[in-house]
Each structure stands twice: as C-alpha cells, then as structure tokens.
Symmetry: C2
Subunit: 720 residues, 2 copies
C-alpha cells in the first residue's frame, strides 16, 4: 500500500480489529520500536482516536482557535511575521501536541521525547503557541508578546539556541525536513544499537510540517529520497498543501504531482482532504502512518492558508504580513472569538494543563525503565548515557594517532581516515560518511558496516551524491543527542552545494565535522570545476565555524582534537589529495592555538622575515625557510592552521607569533589571497591563486600558478 | 501516455503510419517547431530510423567502438580520467551526433543548432570523441592526446570557454541538466516570439545525458520539476542508468523509482533496456520523444559502465581511473579492436565526413530562410539578430533612470526594479525572475506577463522556491545566445543555496545578473537565518564575478550599467530592503571604477581621515563625514561599491582615492569585516558585523550592532 486517499485510508483502517482504532498499537516484541506491554497506558497515547465525541470536538475547536489567535495577535503586535501558516496548520498542530506526541514540557531535552520540526519555519508562531499551551517555560505569555523583538525567546524563525523546545533552527526552506531525516536516522540507529527484548529504551517518532516551499527546494527531495531508501518508518511528515506561496498560487511554478513523486521516493503517502476542520481525518492519517513501519509517511494535508480570515484567507497576502487591525477584528467575528489579544480561555488552559504531569510521568517512567536496563545491560547503558550527555569519555583524545617527521609521507585525507577510525573506537556517538566519495574522501570506518534499512546499527552513512541534505541530516543528528558526533565528507569545492546547511550548523551551534578533501588546485586533472579557490576565505568570513587546514599528520590529529571538543560549533577540515611530509615543529598544541611557530632561527622575537603557510603549502614555506636560513637569514615559519582559533588567543600570544614590528612577511596558500592582508600587512606579500584553476597534473599546476619554494624565497628577498 | 517501457514504446510506434518510421515528422504548420515542408530532406534527418540494415549496423558498431577506444586511449595516456561513461554511453552518443542532431562542425556557434550537454561531465571524453569524429576544429587528434594536460582544449571536465562545441561547463553534478532546462526554455521562448507561419526560424532540440549522480542531486529535481511545469517538449534527456556510482552499486544509497518520480514531475518517460547494443531501441525512443511536444522526455537507458572491459565493466573501478595497460589490451581483444591508440579507421572517418558539408548546408539553408524572414518581418529579424549577436543596442544605457539628491528616498530593491523595467524596454534579450520572492525582490517586468507553458513568449520567469536550479537555468539561458541577458533573484543570504551555480556563472563566463535583496541585518525581524553576514566577503573572494553593493538610485543604475556590459562575467547586486536617501556625490562613472570619492573637504590628497562604506552604510559614512567636518576635520568619504572594479583601476587612480600615506581610515559595512584590512590598513578600523544577526526591527539591530554615525565618528576620533 504505497499510498492512499483518505477514503482508501479509511478502508485500510476498517480492516484492522476495532480495538486498534482507539488504543495503542499492541506490543510486538519481534519488532523494534514498540511500546512495552507493561507500561501504563498513558492518556497521551490513548487519545489517538479515529472519532472524538462532540464535547471533545468543541474543546479541540476552541484550542485550535486559541492557537490561531495567539499567532494572529503576536504577528499583529510585532507588525511583522507570518500568520497564514499557523492559522491553516493549527488543527494538525493541536492534534500532534495535545493528542499524539510524548514530551515533557518541564524538560525539553528529555532524551526519549517525540521530536517536532517546523520545516516551514516562517510559521513559527504555530510552534510557539503550542509550546506555550503545553506548558514549556521557554514560551510564556510575555514571550509571545515579544515576538520578533530584540532579546526575546520568540525570534522570527525557530532557533534551537534561543528557545528550548525548538529542536533545530529552520527558516531557510527545505532544511527542516532534512533535519527531520537526521533525527529519525538517529532514532533508528540508536534503537537498533540499544533496544533489547522488553526494553525499547529508544522509541520515539519524528514529526515535521513542511510547506510548498520546502517541497520545491532540491534539498528536500534529496533528504526524502534517503529517508525512503533507509526506510525511516518513524518519520511522519505533514505536507501543508495550501496552494499558496509568496508569489501567489502555486499554479504559477509548482504543478508537479507531489504524491506520485513521494511514491517514487519510497514513501507511504496519505491524503487528508480537509486539514482545516477534519480532525478525525488527521487522527486517522497519523494512526495509519504509525502502522507503516518500513517507510516514512507523507501526510499530504490540504489546508487553507490564513483559515478564518474572511478577506485574506487563501491568498498570499496572509502569508507574510500582519492581518491588520480591521481584518483581525473581522477574523475574530468570523471564528466567533470573543477574547482579547493573547487570551487563552480558562477551559483551554485547564485542558492543556495535564501535559505537565503527564510529561513528568513519561520521563519518570522512562527513567525507571532505564534504571532496570542499566542493571541488566550495564555496558550498553553506559554507552547510551555517554550519547545522551555532552560529556566526552575520559582520555578519548589519547586515541588519536601520533606522527614524527620520520613517519611516511601521506595525504592528509589518508591521515584523516586514521583519525576517524581511531575516534570511532572511543566515541560511542561517532558516525558519518560521504556524498558518494568515501573512497576519495577516505571516510570509511573499517570496524563498522554501512547504515542501511536493515542494518541501522552500523555507522558508515552512505549519502549518495546529495551534499546539501548530507549537511542538514548531520545537523539533525547533532541536534538529536549531545553525544552524537556526525562527520560528513565531499570534495572541498562542493561545500558550495551544501553551504546553506553548513551555515545552519554554525548558527544553530551544531558541532558537525566537515571532512573536505581535495582542498586546492593540488587535486590536479579534474580541473577548475573541482578546484576550490575562494572557499577557505569564504568560511573564514563565516561566524561560529572553525576552518582548519592541517599540514601533516600531527596537525590533522590536532584538527580532530579541536573538532571533537567543539560541540557548539562546526569544524571544516580542508585536506589534501596529494602526499605531504610530516614537518618538524608541528604540534597538536599549536593547532589548538590556531597559529604558531613551527621553526625559527631568530632571536628576541625579531626575525628578518616571517613565512606563513597552511595545509599543503606549509611544506613549501618550511623549505623556503631552510633555503633562506642557508643564506644567513633569520627566518620564522608560522603555521596558520585555523585563523579563528588564532584570533581568540591573547594579544600577547599573537604578538609572540606575528610581532607587529616585523613587516617582512610572506604567506603562501593554494587559494584566494583575499583576507591575507590581515596576516601579511600592507608591506607583505601573499602568494596564492586569485583566478580559477586549470586541468593538468598537480605538480604542473603548482609551478604554473607560482606556488613554489623559489617564489617564496624571491618574495622574501624582495621585502629586503 | 505519461510513460512507457520499450515494449510500450514499440506498440506506440506501431500505431504510426509506416512512413513515419524512417522519415522526418510531416510538417504541421498549426504547431510550432516543425521543419519546413520545402526544406531539402537531409540525410541527417532522414536517418532517424527504427531499423537499420545490417551493413549500416556494422558501421554503427565500429563507430561506437571508435568512440569507446578514443576515450579509453585518452584516459590511458593521461593516466587520469573517466573511461566508464564513454564506454557505456557511446551508442547513444553515436546515434545523437551521427543520426539525429543538426549542427555545423565548422561553426559551433550556429544559432539554430541542436544543443547537447553532458550533465555527467566527468565522461567528457565521450563528447570530445564525438566532436572529433564530427569534424570540429576544436578537437583534433592532438587535442585528444593532450587530454587533461596544461593548455589543452580537452580539460578534465567539459568547459565551454576552452572547447568550442561544448555548450556549457559541467562536472559538478546536476548542473548540466539544469543548464539544459535553461537552453530549452530559451528555445521555447525565442520560438514563441520569433517564429511565424512558414518560418520556424527558431527550431532546435536540447539533448542531455545525465547519470545517477545528477539524479541524486537536488538541483536536478528542481530543474526537472520546472521543465515539466513549463512543458519543455523539445528537451530530451538520457538518464544513463548504469547502477554504478563512485561508492559502488547505487543500491547502497539510491533505490528510489526514478521513472515514477519523473512521471510526478510531469515528464514523458521512456525506458530503453539495452543501451549497450540496442541501437534500434535508442532510435525508437528518440523518435517517440519527438512526438511528445508538450512534455520533456526522460529516456531511462540501461547501460553497462565500462562496456567491453572484460574485468572492469559494471564496477566502480572503471568509473574514474584509467583501465591500465593490461585491461586496455583485454578490452581491445574483447571488442575485436585491432587498431592502435587514437586510431580512427578510414571507413569511420569517411562515414562521419558528411557532417561537414551537411552542417554547412544546414546553416546555409537557415541563413537563406532567415534572409526571407528578414524581408517579411524586418523588425522581428532585427530583434532576433540582436539576440543572436553579443552587440548591445546603441544607446541602451540611456534608458537607465537618473536620480538627484532630491529624489524621494527608496530601498535599492525598488530602485532596482525601475532599472529592470527600463532595461526590458531596450534589451530584446532581457528576461528573468525570482525564486518565489518577486514581490520582495521587486523583479517583475511590468510590461510583460509570466513565461508559462502556454505563454512562452513572456519574460517574467517564475522559478518557485528553487534557487539552485534558478542559477543554473540562467547559466543555460546565457549560453544559448550571446544577446540573452537573464537576471534572477532571491534574498542575498540564499545565495548559499545556489552558490555552486553562481560559481559556474563565473567560471563559464556567463554574464547572469544576480539581483540579491535584503542584503544585511537591515532586513530586520526575520532574524539571523535570513541575514547575510559573510556573503559580501565570500563573493569578493570568488574569481571572475562582480560583487556590487550600490548605495542609492544613481549607484543602482550604475551597477546595472556595469552588469549589462559585463557579458563575460556575472554580477551580483546586493540591494537593501530598507529606504535609503539619494546621496550627493554618487555617480555612474564612480560605480564603473568600483571605488570613488563621494565627498571631500581636504586639499592636496591629504585628508585627516578617510571614511568608507558600501550600500546602505554609505549614508552612515556620509553623515559621519558631515559631523566630523562640522568639528573642523578634513574628511574624505569613499564609496567602495565594487572591490573588483576598484582593483582593476590604475595604481595612480587608486592612490587618488585611498592615498597610501593616510592611515586614519574607518570603514562601515553591515557584514563581516573579513577582508577590510586591505582597505583600512593595520591602523584603521573596520566597523561591521562579525557574528550572526538577530531577530528585531532593523533600526534596533543597527544600534545594537554598532552600525551608527556615532560609532564612525568615535572610531575616526580614536585614530587621531
């Protein structure tokens, strides 16, 4: 049953034994992810009913309108925002948060909670209203009133670092659904590793709402193709099919058959025709989705954007602007809403109030279960604990390989693989992979197999040629649990394909490790389409990210030490395709400072000239240094492996590396010289590549582009 | 008939009158894009046969093997490259270039040629071999022997700027198929505008080959969704379904049902089961594709990667490495190929030799037809001519609006719209649109309607929320004809979604105009997900692109003047959401120099302090300048609207703007300060935003982030 209209869904449900309709799935211990038989049947689960009583429907309707008006009022007060989506999606939002999801409002970080993501992040007032009603401390009435204001916890798009209860940062379209794939992947992986008979210790769903915009973005197709491939049965996505985008009716640009596409992607598809008031249809769809365990489900749900607004509903004017006082009044009349702004009726407050004790009970129950689990499976419990918490295992960094100048020359991509494999042994939450370049990026973990639909316990992720969703999926994995440390890989130049996801790693404080090989024209014959030039500069300019370009084995190990430690900011490692020697003077401690002296024959912090390099060009700087020293010069050679880390050092330290009195400075890096003025100063010389590369063997290119020892020596001499 | 297996295709073809099978489509003047009845029936068209004679098949087989061995030998000599695809795709390549496509080898730029794109660009030896056999001067035997070497015309991936006959630059996966959508769009648009009864003056197909990698990339889904929406019936794409990607069998990451997905996208899908030797199947598929005029066609063609290699075929090892001497020999034996490296048998040379006279005849015939057309439709002919050639109409720049300091303050995005609409009146090849933000980016051309399936003559392109393919489609449009000048738009921050396409504009010398609004934290409440920070720096570091950030109406007009003139490099215009005054001293001539003095009360090129700004912050610099002058200082205010253009000026001019003796310099720009050291020097001060932004009203953000007149004044005073 690959898909169904609602009618079909109903027929399908009718085939089930009747008790199925209003009770939880019977436990089946042959299948993972099922509730334990001996758990108390909590109301939060029991309420997934196909049919509700009339009194219940009244409360639901009132709750749904409460959500709508909280959104309308907040946008109106801010004079800015997106009321249309919350007004249309309030019914599904209500059902999810009030009837379906398990969570603990007083601990938004409870490990086993269901995850909810608003991929159509502009509709964030929906999420804020739901968090408010559910009793989260992060969204009090005051916060709703400060929507989109400086310092508030209710910014214009959902931000996980501002608002506990928000799982990921969304807004840039399509990212959220890809994050959701990451969260669902994390659940499936951890469940496969840690669940035991009678202990479904990892057991939650991931719900997402995505709109037409998310559907049009390529990243969502990539991510959903992977979700289908991986069979992420506990991912349930609501496609808010409202036929309106900013430019008007979707007819002008989006007439594909989404349902058929998702069937092609291997999803189960359910159509809900009345998303505005068809509460039972929505409930039935969710119930059906949960019965499909081997495929993710898309619930295509037709809603009216701005539902309830008599003059603006179903038009783009309600998408991204306040309704205006007059239309707010008209909407109040139209929906029969007698209350003032931001008012939550007492009966609705009372109705939602149960989620605080229920959430506490859910967590307590899970804790008790975990305590039993810990007794029976102490090793697994310890491992899972280290994934649930941000604490790294003691001494993990000792696993990193060490090198001496005598170690055989190697490409940093190969040295990186040694580090990855060392880390996988000591970090239980370490997993990752490449966008179809594992054998070039050297990212396979040899002790593990491939994470696949039927092997979800494994840790090598095979993303296919889908860089953008790879980044966003890793963001989702990071946001699932603080001890999950995902890495992902492609050629450095193809960060261009995934830059929006990398930026969201940085913004949302997701410590993803980006393993980016083939980091310069040194990749050779593949030519300029594959040769990064401006990429180092472009990431050095990005806030809250570490751009690391190690020069040899020791610096590569140092880069991984930094990357693993930085759980609140992502790291990009730029690694060479070509072999590099292990240089005397490089050190892990040096890498941690971002810039440091690797060799020096000057005295009193007064070298004649300072030579600087990063990555594969540090060798060239070092050789040029030797040559100049042979001619009697006092030369300092500096590695600038990470500008961000160097910037963070004390003024005193920086002065000890790059004394301001020394203006004779030469830098060499196989990339744009943009930004190097800061390091070499107005009298120095930056050697680099400021045009596109070319297709030829690497050694030819280095010569043709002037990245040579002779060029550095000549530049140093020119400076006197 | 949305799709068909080959059997279905055969059944379908069997319904056609038998003369259909081996003769061109009968002309039907009610439908566009049909050949003229009175054209000579050239062999190049007649040869689209469903069944070929045995002798013909022998030649075909030999020609196909010639292509295979040219690829094998070139990769072997280079010791680098991708033999697998050419070996598998040689049959479809042969049929396209020898039997189906119309082109003139001696004029690769003939306007009405069929276009061919290798979206799976790594297989470029296929294309080079075909160009070689067809008689293109750009790929002589010597060029094949210099594959992937410095200075050769046969680089490691197809590059339009290196090799006449290559339409676009591909390699980064998914780009080519999106470029193909742009080429097909251009054809459909121009045909609708210029074709007349009996004059199908614009009439060609666009053919592309894409692989599994292209299919996985999100950009291809975006572009193909648009192609379906637009009903680009003359786009025919071959999906080389060989089940192998770099990481191995596609089973590990790509198990979706591509055929179903493309049906969802509104394509006609044909399956060819034997792409290795099923020549008639391939011919039949192309024939069927041509009968479907309202939908693009995907021919899903199953091939064996590395076909003919006894030990490496159908494995990833043949994808991206030379076969090795031993396996080359084994392949020669296996395919019965007695010839030495790079040898083209005489009968094959002779067989292909007809394309030179035929191509010349095709072009001559078109020229004759155009000459008749010109007599009958002189105005249309003149307009089409200006699209076919790179020459801009005389005096076009006079259409740009002018402003004075008294003109009403306005956002540069609105001033941009005035420019766009002015240019649309004078540039026949000007067209473009936005990724679902037309009403925010202000990009609608008021005198035109929307380009749609049934209104292809219009010029407002509606891309939907598909930034990445938008860029690549515009690259395709630019590469179609030198006089086509596409612009495209989104929020500046979402250049992150399309960066790979923008980079290809720069690399492939495609003068696309990127209209990027909401260019700083000045966009306000939408918050940090929507606020660009590092973007200006990241594009300043990119080669061959102009990053322009105009400050007011005059500078916006200047930026458009520059952008339109630069047909060989793309331009990005960063434009404000917020209102800005028209500043005294700004000028179009100044913009053309990239940096210039807008006001100065100093003498002898010796100001006390230089204040610099771009875009919306130039106003702040100007106000700070006035304040300091009131206090008796000699202050120069400089606009640095485009760093690239300023860099290109003479040393003397640069010195006249930023005299090296003046170290008291303050810059202000609402973005990363990365790179500004170059302008302000080690003693100067760069005011900017080096963290992510925040959600709040714009004026609050400017204060909180210190982008104020007072901050500039204070910094200037600090410098003494």
């Amino acid at each position: 049953m690959a898909s169904s209209s609602l009618t079909l869904s109903k027929a399908y449900l009718a085939q089930q034994p009747s008790y199925e309709r209003c009770s939880p799935r019977p436990a089946d211990h042959h299948v993972s992810f099922t509730p334990r038989r001996d758990l108390p049947r909590l109301r939060v689960r029991r309420r997934i009913c196909v049919r509700a009583s009339s009194a219940e429907t009244d409360v639901v309707e009132k709750s749904v309108n409460t959500i709508r008006f909280l959104a309308i009022d907040a946008v109106e007060k801010a004079k800015s925002g997106h009321p249309g989506l919350p007004m249309g999606c309030a019914p599904m939002g209500h059902i999810l948060f009030d009837e379906v999801m398990k969570y603990n409002p007083k601990n938004p970080y409870w490990f086993n909670r269901d995850r909810f993501l608003l991929s159509a992040g502009h509709g964030c007032m929906l999420h804020y209203a739901l968090l408010h009603l559910a009793g989260y401390d992060s969204v009090k009435e005051r916060d709703l009133m400060e929507f989109r204001q400086w310092g508030s916890r209710t910014p214009g798009h959902p931000e996980n670092f501002e608002t506990p209860g928000v799982e990921v940062t969304t807004g840039p379209l399509g990212q959220g659904i890809a994050n959701a794939v990451g969260l669902a992947l994390a659940e499936k992986h951890l469940a496969a590793r840690f669940n035991k008979p009678h202990f479904d210790i990892v057991d939650h769903y991931t719900y997402a709402i995505l709109g037409d915009g998310c559907q049009m973005e390529g990243i969502s197709n990539e991510a959903c193709s992977l979700a289908g491939h991986w069979g992420l049965g506990k991912l349930i996505a609501f496609y808010d099919d409202n036929h309106i985008s900013i430019d008007g009716d979707t007819e002008i640009a989006f007439t594909e058959d989404v349902q058929t596409r998702f069937q092609g992607l291997g999803w189960h598809v359910i159509c809900v025709k009345n998303g505005n008031t068809g509460y039972d249809e929505i409930r039935a769809a969710i119930k059906e989705a949960k019965t499909v365990q081997d495929k993710p489900t898309l619930i295509k749900i037709t809603t009216t954007i701005g539902f309830g607004s008599p003059n603006k509903a179903n038009s783009y004017s309600v998408h991204g602007s306040a309704l205006g006082e007059k239309e707010v009044d008209a909407t109040r009349k139209n929906l029969g809403w007698p209350y003032g702004p931001f008012h939550v009726p007492e009966d609705i407050k009372s109705h939602w109030s149960r989620h605080i004790p229920q959430g506490a009970a859910l967590e307590a129950e899970w804790n008790a279960q975990f305590s039993d689990y810990e007794k029976k499976y102490p090793q697994e419990a310890a491992e899972l604990k280290s994934i649930v918490t941000p604490n790294l295992p003691n001494g993990w960094e000792k696993s990193l390989p060490t090198y001496t100048p005598e170690s055989p020359a190697d490409a940093t991509r190969n040295l990186s693989q040694q580090c990855l494999n060392a880390l996988a042994k000591v970090l239980p939450g370490f997993l990752g992979g490449s966008a179809d370049l594992a054998s070039s990026n050297m990212t396979l973990l040899k002790m593990f197999g491939d994470f696949q639909k039927n092997a979800p316990e494994e840790r090598n992720l095979r993303f296919g040629v889908r860089e953008h969703s790879m980044g966003a999926i890793c963001n989702g994995i990071t946001c699932h649990s603080p001890g999950l440390i995902p890495y992902c890989a492609t050629f450095f130049v193809f960060t261009d394909y995934m830059r929006a996801a990398i930026r969201l790693s940085a913004l949302s404080e997701a410590g993803v490790i980006y393993v980016m090989t083939h980091d310069s024209i040194g990749l050779g014959e593949d030519g300029p389409t594959h040769q990064p030039i401006e990429h180092l500069a472009s990431f050095r300019a990005m806030p809250n990210i570490l751009m690391l370009r190690p020069a040899d084995g020791t610096e590569t190990a140092g880069a991984y030490k930094v990357a693993v430690e930085n759980r609140k900011r992502p790291s990009i490692l730029a690694l060479s395709r070509q072999k590099l020697p292990h240089l005397p003077g490089t050190s892990v401690q040096g890498v941690e400072k971002g810039g440091y002296v690797i060799s020096d024959n000057s005295a009193g912090n007064r070298p004649d000239v300072i030579l600087m390099g990063t990555g594969s060009e540090l060798e060239i700087a070092a050789k040029a240094g030797e040559k100049l020293r042979e001619e009697g010069r006092a030369v300092r050679v500096v590695s600038l492996v990470s500008w961000e880390l160097f910037d963070e050092q004390s003024q005193e330290y920086k002065e000890s590396v790059l004394p301001s009195g020394i203006s004779a400075r030469v830098s060499i890096e196989a990339g744009s010289t943009f930004g190097w003025e800061k390091m070499v100063g107005p009298k120095g010389k930056a050697i680099g590549v400021d045009s596109f590369g070319a297709s030829a063997p690497a050694d030819v290119l280095y010569k043709k582009f002037g990245l040579t020892v002779d060029a550095v020596v000549a530049a140093a001499k020119d400076l006197g």
